[in-house]
Each structure stands twice: as structure tokens, then as C-alpha cells.
Amino acid sequence: MNIGDWLFKNLTRLFAVLVLAIVALMAWEMIRGSGASIGEFGWGFLTSSEWDPVQDLYGALPFIYGTVVSSLIALAIALPLSLGSAIFLSEIAPRWIEGPVAFMVELLAAIPSIVYGLWGMFVLVPWLRASVEPVISKNLGFIPLFRGAPYGFGMLAAGIILAIMILPIITSISRDVLRAIPGTQREAALALGATKWESTRIILASGKSGFLGATLLGLGRAVGETMAVTMVIGNRPEISLSLFDPGYSMASVIANEFAEATTEMYTSALIEIALVLFVVTLVLNAFARFIVWSVTKTSGGSR
């Protein structure tokens, strides 16, 4: 074999292996670092809502709860918006609208999260506190989700910020999924006497699992997002049913408290939270990538 080819092949192989090695090393380091906490609290770490550095008692439930709930709020808001705009862009909008709008949606993904966080603190939170939350709790206060004092900082603010942040990825992947569906599918439906709307519905059915993948990728991003959430979620390790109340997320507690973790157990507990976060995002992303990959690979009318 040619020496250049040999070098190229083995060099690229080396880099590929290196990436895997880094991931494995990270996992190993976290497992090692969280050894003390795992040994002390066991599985109870995941179900306890005690977070008391003074007494060196640690439970991760409030953070898991905060991450899950804020991410779900984000999905609930972002999903209809992203799917709607993906459908509009790929099925309805004329070319000259599609290009610029798709470009702007993708630009949203390029904004640094600290900027989202600042916007959240100075625009979103005051607005929620002054205008939105009081109105909702006045009219829908009988639902526990919307009860309580309007802080502004809290789950709802975090959910909204996250929704804006995951909108671009869900939109652009859903758009790719729709574009991977061949035009002959649309023509087949139209030629059967389907209206535009009916043909779009048939197309959407073909894209179903792709949309699921896009959603999971968005979710993965929401789960791991740190900066913007930390700035608006309120940072209180409490589990409250009300969306207006402050909470805490896994990523935020690590960012906030790692530098001031004084005892070994404190550090170890934070590392264990990182481990949980790592596993969750890894699984979520792998699953999502797999779905998107299998859809864009096999969609099409005939073999």
C-alpha cells in the first residue's frame, strides 16, 4: 500500500479512537470523582431531595426535577412552533421566503447562551413578573401549576428561554426530514385527489420518526443547557408544583457551586450530578441521532 494512504488511514483512525478514548476517560473520571458520594448515598442520591452542604447531606432530586420540568416546558412550547415553521418552510412557503427565514432561524442557534441569559434576566423575567404571571395566576390559579407568587425567576422563565434556544435545532432537523421525503410522494397524494393539506398530512406521517429524533435532539440540548438557565431559574433546590416558583437544574448547580464546594463529599456529590447529566444526555443524543439517521437513510418511495 502507498505510504501516504497508510499514513492517512491510520492517522484518521487514531483520531477517531482518540475521541472515544476522551469520552471514556471523562466517564471514568466522573465515576472516580463521585466515588465518595456513591458510596455514602447509593441510589438514594437520586431520590432524596435533601441538599444541605452544612450537614454534608446530598440528594439530587430537586435538580433532576428542575432539569426535567424546565426541559419539558421548553419542548411543550418549542415543538409546535418548530414543527409549524418547518412545515411552513418546506411545504408551503415560496423559495424566496424559505431561504431567508430558514437562515434566520439557524442564526438563532449561533447566539451565545449568555446573551439569551441576559435577555432573560432583563427582559423576559421582568415581563413575566409584571404582566404574565399575575394574569395567569388570577385566571388559572385554581390549577396548582399556576399558583403562587409571581417571582419572574423560576421554572417558567427557564422553560421559555430553553424553548427559544432549542427552536432552531428542531426546526432545521425537521426541515431536513421533510426535504428527504421525495417529491414523488407529494405528487402521488395530489394525483389521488388530495388537497394540499391532505397531501401534507400524508407527508407528515412519513416523517413521524424523524420528527421524534429532532425532538429528542432538542430535548438533549435543553437538558444540558447551563448558562442561560442558571441566570433565570432562580437557583433554589426546591421541588414546587408551581411553574412560577424558583427551581434549580443539574447543570446550574454544578456551575454555581463547584467552585465553592468545600468538603470532599460536596465535590463528590456535584460530580455525581455531572455523571447523571452525562449519561442522560449521552443516551438521549445517541437515541435521537440513531432515529434521524435511520429515517434520512431509508425514506423514499421505492427501494
Partner: protein
């Protein structure tokens, strides 16, 4: 009265002119073949008959009459139910089963009755000469069938909405000779009930299946006559050159 009659139609893709003043009558329950070299406008002509030309962003001028009435005055949805279409590449809906593919058009028409759906699906599949091969696997995905079966599935899907006219754009060009022969037999059968317009690249096929043949060249209708006449004693030099394989 002809089933379909076009009066001087011109079609464009933007500034590209694809059809130049085509006037042609399609008699009822006959097969009309459209032949001509690649790019001469065969597909465009076919697609102007059920207003699919507009779907690809094209524009059209002139008149298309269906049973003597202006086809373009009809709602395209209604027109396309009366004038069905089978495409070059088999395109069953990938997420639907064999059954659901055939039932798709009926469901669009609002038919919900299970018994009625099952009846029509069976009848259409029998009609498309596919029933015996798929009757035990109606729940299988439509795309799990072979290419030839998929194309007959698409024909069944078109038949299920009971159109009056069936347009076929090179329906056998992606198939092997045996599957092709089956489609040709099928066309013979379907002719008893439907009016068929078929585009084909294959001159033998046109000669075998059609009653009338139209030869298109560079967007113009060069010659249109009974198939036997056109293939034995063409009235035009260009037609003769084409069917004897001297160009195209």
C-alpha cells in the same frame, strides 16, 4: 365525443417552452400512446391533462376538455379523481401498508366504512393483477414489495378511486421484462373500463398496447394516428426516422 380533447395547448417552465400548440383527441376506452425522444414534452403533455403541470411550477395556455367540458374550470381535486395518474417510479406511501395504500384515495374521499374499504381494496388489487400475490400480506409495508409489485400497487391505488381516465408516465421503465409484460397485459384488461394515455420510450410497447399513437418532437405534435397506421405507413418523414431508430 372524445373523452379528452386538447385544444392548442402551450406549456412553459418559466421561460422554457415545453409544449407548442398541441391539439389531440383521446377516444373513450382506448389506449393512446405518446412517444418521442427524451425532453420532447411527453410528461409535460400528460401532466397538463390532470393539472399536475402546475404542481411543478409550470404554466399552461389553451384548453383541455374532459367529456367536452373545460377541465381547468374544475376543482383540481375533482379533476384528479376523474383523471388518475401512475408515475414512472413506483411511489407507494412508505409508511402505509399494502391495504392502506390502496385505501388512501377512498379515505381522502371520506369513506370510513370498513366493509366497503375492504371490498374496494380487494377489487382494485384483483383488477391490478396483484391480489393473489399480496392477499396474505395486506398488512405488510407497501415498500416491502418488489418493484413490479409496487407499480401494480400504485395502479391499484389509482383504480380504487374509480377514475375515468388513467394517465401512465413510462409505468414500466423501471421494471424488468417480466414485470413489464404483466403491466402490458394489465393495460389490455383495463382498457375495457378506462380510457388510458400512456407515455413510453419503448416503441414496441407502444405498438403492442395502444390503439392510437402520438409522436411528439421538440414540444410539437408531429403525427397522431391509429397505431397500426403510424407504425406501418407513417405520414411524416420525422416520424419515420424516429420509429425506424434513425434518431432519438
Amino acid at each position: 365525443m372524445p373523452k379528452i380533447s386538447t385544444k392548442n395547448i402551450n406549456a412553459w417552465f418559466g421561460k422554457t417552452r415545453a409544449l407548442r400548440g398541441i391539439s389531440l383527441d383521446v377516444p373513450e376506452k382506448q389506449v393512446v400512446a405518446i412517444i418521442g425522444p427524451s425532453g420532447c414534452g411527453k410528461s409535460t403533455f400528460l401532466r397538463s391533462l390532470n393539472r399536475m403541470h402546475e404542481v411543478a411550477g409550470g404554466t399552461i395556455e389553451g384548453k383541455v376538455l374532459l367529456d367536452g367540458e373545460d377541465a381547468y374550470a374544475l376543482d383540481p381535486v375533482v379533476l384528479r379523481r376523474r383523471v388518475g395518474m401512475v408515475f414512472q417510479k413506483p411511489n407507494p406511501f412508505p409508511t402505509m401498508s399494502v391495504f392502506d395504500n390502496v385505501a388512501a384515495g377512498l379515505r381522502l374521499n371520506g369513506v370510513r366504512d370498513k366493509k366497503r374499504l375492504a371490498e374496494v381494496v380487494e377489487k382494485s388489487l384483483r383488477h391490478a393483477a396483484l391480489w393473489d400475490e399480496v392477499k396474505d400480506s395486506l398488512d405488510k409495508s407497501g415498500v416491502s414489495l418488489s418493484g413490479g409489485q409496487q407499480q401494480r400497487l400504485c395502479i391499484a391505488r389509482t383504480l380504487a378511486v374509480n377514475p375515468e381516465v388513467i394517465l401512465m408516465d413510462e409505468p414500466a421503465s423501471a421494471l424488468d421484462p417480466i414485470a413489464t409484460a404483466r403491466i402490458e397485459e394489465l393495460i389490455h384488461e383495463l382498457k375495457k373500463e378506462f380510457t388510458i394515455v400512456i407515455v413510453t420510450h419503448n416503441m414496441q410497447q407502444a405498438a403492442r398496447v395502444s390503439d392510437f399513437t402520438a409522436f411528439l418532437y421538440l414540444g410539437e405534435l408531429i403525427e397522431y394516428d391509429a397505431t397500426t397506421k403510424l407504425f406501418t405507413t407513417p405520414g411524416n418523414k420525422q416520424t419515420e426516422d424516429y420509429i425506424t431508430g434513425r434518431f432519438g
